[in-house]
Symmetry: C2
Subunit: 151 residues, 2 copies
């Protein structure tokens, strides 16, 4: 690949990864839902939805957080009624973090809200363009420099 191309991608990615971009995204995401879901708790909730019931340690490995950090974020989600702790039936030590019905509803609503925000933002794009971009982005996420390591 020519050097300038990697440069262009890095530049655009840099903007996308700016903290403020994240913050704006999460503002869309939280608004209207309970305060329990924020920038910190969302990855836990989302990861749990993706993987199914998991221990704090495993979920931590999944989302790249320390075990204890997951525990504390899960505490909040639990007191908000979105997550429930269950005894692991086969291992008496382990506690499985599980989404409640409300947790499932919340994460679904969140994703829908997020999708809607992106659609609004891309209102000037044609449907075909948006689909093309979505495919490229997916391919980059799957095959790009950040893909291999499961985190």
């Amino acid at each position: 690949m020519a050097n300038t191309t990697g440069y262009d991608i890095a530049d655009a990615l840099g903007l996308l990864l700016r903290r403020s971009t994240r913050a704006r995204l999460y503002a869309h995401l939280t608004e209207g839902l309970g305060k329990a879901v924020d920038e910190l708790t969302y990855p836990v909730l989302s990861g749990l939805a993706r993987t199914g019931p998991l221990s704090a340690a495993e979920l931590g490995r999944e989302v790249g957080l320390d075990r204890t950090t997951v525990t504390r974020r899960a505490d909040r989600l639990e007191s908000a009624g979105l997550v429930q702790r269950r005894q692991d039936p086969v291992d008496g030590r382990a506690t499985l973090l599980t989404l409640t019905r409300q947790g499932h509803e919340t994460i679904a609503a969140t994703r829908q809200r997020l999708a809607a925000a992106i659609e609004d933002g891309l209102a000037s794009w044609s449907e075909a363009d948006a689909q093309t971009f979505a495919r490229w982005l997916r391919r980059f996420v799957d095959e790009g420099p950040f893909a291999p390591q499961r985190d």
Copy 2:
């Protein structure tokens, strides 16, 4: 736009914005350079390179941080010799944050390193594909939901 497209984009974006992705990116970025440039100080350094000499308050507006936070991050960059504080010649109150020669060299090396990491990660892509993706990504950053607000 069809609902499912916004959904796909949101999904891929979510992965891209994961904290661990950022961390991995910044690991590439810092490695080999002094410890002064990290996930926290990089946006300040980078913003300064993009805009030229700026006061802490203006730079804060530029990168979406509180004035005082910029000041403290700049402190570190200053003691590492990458940033220099200069009296604003036309406003005695203002202090302009300026990149030193070493600061310029560091940011250039950082960007090159980043571009190289992305090229490595996309080794399996053709040059044409990479360029096409770069163009789409740039267009999304410029025209997409996160574009309008200068941060």
